[in-house]
């Protein structure tokens, strides 16, 4: 079996102020899949991301990359960060250059690429996030959603194999969330492993292939979304309820309103299934009527 692209094995982490970040956390990211990390505030979601990118080092346990342990040497961490991009939650805290292009070029320049390659990468990254032609704009004139996209472009320009995003949907309105989910899907389709944290259980189950549940610094479950969806016990421990789509579908399937399989991943998908079903049945009744 192929090794997971990144893996935390039995990782403990205690913050300098004594707060426990992680306790025996084990979690593996399958290559090219869309992962969602779920947990209540303070469960350790950001701490996990910072370990995966090497910003924090495990107090005990190991970080493995393609099955190989990553040691704490400068070279190993640099190699890790080259492959693993991390987008933080608050754009105000990670955009520090005055202009969009300048900020996006920060990472590629640090990779030691030449100016032409950097320029090409900046353009490609801005295109990918839908900010073509924004390179010369001043960062502080952008809207919140645009800033968020600049942050993502800044990481994409480093062409990471793994993209980690901390609460990427926070603060975005509905259309922007749809756009961002589509962008992440495109990246995953290109083979990039994507991991995002969220506390929206409905979104997580609607979007992700794999779900990882975090509670009080432990990873209590890691599995494909469809296998975890009905595990009310595990979800409760992680501070969540069963996704509404699953609960609704169970009710409707019990009544025979919808087929038991396939289970829709999200409430909008369930709604579509209902509408399609209604359309089909009215189409059938139309046909029946017309043939009568």
């Amino acid at each position: 079996m192929a090794h997971p692209v990144l893996e935390l094995v039995d990782v403990d982490h205690v913050y300098p102020d004594g707060g426990t970040g992680l306790r025996g956390c084990t979690l593996a990211l399958g290559r090219g899949r869309r992962h969602a990390l779920l947990g209540a505030n303070g469960a350790g979601k950001s701490t996990v991301l910072r370990h995966l990118n090497g910003l924090l080092r495990p107090g005990a346990g190991q970080l493995r990359s393609d099955g190989q342990p990553v040691d704490g040497s400068r070279a190993a961490l640099a190699a890790l960060r080259r492959r693993v991009g991390l987008v933080f939650q608050d754009p105000e805290r990670q955009l520090f250059a005055a202009h969009v292009g300048e900020d996006v070029s920060f990472g590629p320049l640090n990779l030691g690429l030449d100016a032409a390659t950097v320029a090409a990468r900046v353009d490609a990254a801005l295109d990918a996030v839908g900010l073509h032609g924004y390179a010369g704009r001043a960062v502080h004139h952008l809207s919140f959603g645009q800033k968020k996209r600049v942050c993502i472009a800044g990481v994409l320009a480093m062409e990471p194999e793994v993209l980690l995003l901390d609460e990427p949907m926070a603060g975005l309105d509905a259309p922007m969330q749809v756009d961002l989910a589509a962008l992440l899907d495109r990246l995953a389709a290109r083979g990039v492993t994507v991991l995002l944290t969220t506390h929206d259980v409905d979104f997580a189950f609607g979007w992700a292939d794999d779900i990882h549940l975090l509670a009080a610094g432990r990873c209590i479950a890691s599995a494909p979304a469809e296998r975890l969806a009905a595990r009310a016990d595990l979800l409760h421990t992680a501070g969540h309820r069963v996704p509404l789509a699953i609960a609704l579908h169970a009710q409707l399937a019990a009544r025979g309103v919808l087929p038991a399989i396939p289970a829709p991943r999200s409430v909008p998908a369930l709604l579509e299934a209902l509408q399609a079903d209604l359309a089909t049945s009215s189409a059938i009744s139309n046909i029946l009527e017309s043939t009568e």
Partner: protein, 244 residues
């Protein structure tokens, strides 16, 4: 910020800041009165024990806080007996040794007095004490805002450094220097934005030009002040014994 964390978690957290300040001032006065290095060292020990035993300040925290000044002390005291003569040649002057010993021990005692105060008293408690002592309002407002905002800006700085490290911003000192400069410029610009945001938020709460807060109450302050004065008087008496 180790001193600040310790100040919030020790046995004297609820003691009136006025009492702790009186004791520290008495310690400083005693250190200024005392002459012999031995007496000064004893004062330093007593003051340190007050914090370690009385307030249960962890020894590690005390030592960590004292580390930087002790480095200065070592350098400065070692410097004093060495120096150039009239011809510019560097020599060892034995005559400076007693001066260095006295200055060193005195500095230790005063440092112990200060640490006894700062490791047991959160800075805002000191600010409300200063307010009662009629410190100029402009200065107090400056201090109150500075205290709150330094944690906010520090958080912003740390997050910025993390974001830069995640994008390989600190490989080698050239990159590091550039990254620090960019970030410092960004945080400097935040100074204006955050000041404006605070102004708006204050206006929304009927701000009328002065920052007023209700100070914390220390109901047993009188008794604690008396005790602190008594303990301080013992230190001063010890120091006075040196002069006779």
């Amino acid at each position: 910020m180790l001193i600040e964390t310790t100040a919030y978690a020790n046995r004297w957290r609820g003691v009136a800041p006025s009492a702790k300040a009186l004791f520290a001032l008495a310690g400083i006065a005693a250190a200024w009165i005392a002459q012999r290095p031995g007496t000064l060292a004893l004062l330093a020990l007593l003051l340190a024990l007050a914090a370690l035993v009385g307030a249960r300040v962890p020894l590690r925290a005390w030592l960590a806080a004292a580390l930087a000044p002790l480095g200065f002390l070592l350098l400065a005291c070692a410097t004093m007996p060495i120096g150039p003569d009239a011809h510019g040649d560097w020599h060892w002057h034995a005559a400076m040794v007693p001066v260095a010993a006295q200055a060193g021990c005195r500095a230790l005692a005063v440092l112990a007095a200060l640490l006894g105060f700062t490791l047991t008293t959160p800075l805002p408690d000191l600010l409300s004490l200063l307010r009662r002592l009629r410190t100029p309002e402009t200065l107090l407002d400056l201090m109150a805002l500075c205290y709150r905002m330094l944690f906010v800006l520090r958080r912003a700085w740390d997050d910025g450094v993390d974001a830069q490290r995640a994008r390989l911003g600190y490989r080698g000192w050239r990159h590091g220097f550039r990254s620090s400069g960019l970030l410092a410029g960004h945080v400097a610009q935040q100074v204006w934005l955050r000041a404006a945001a605070l102004q708006t938020a204050a206006d929304a709460r009927s701000y009328a030009g002065t920052l007023r807060f209700l100070p914390a109450a220390f109901p047993r302050a009188r008794r604690q002040n008396t005790l602190a004065l008594l303990a301080g008087a013992l230190l001063v008496a010890l120091a006075l014994g040196d002069r006779w």
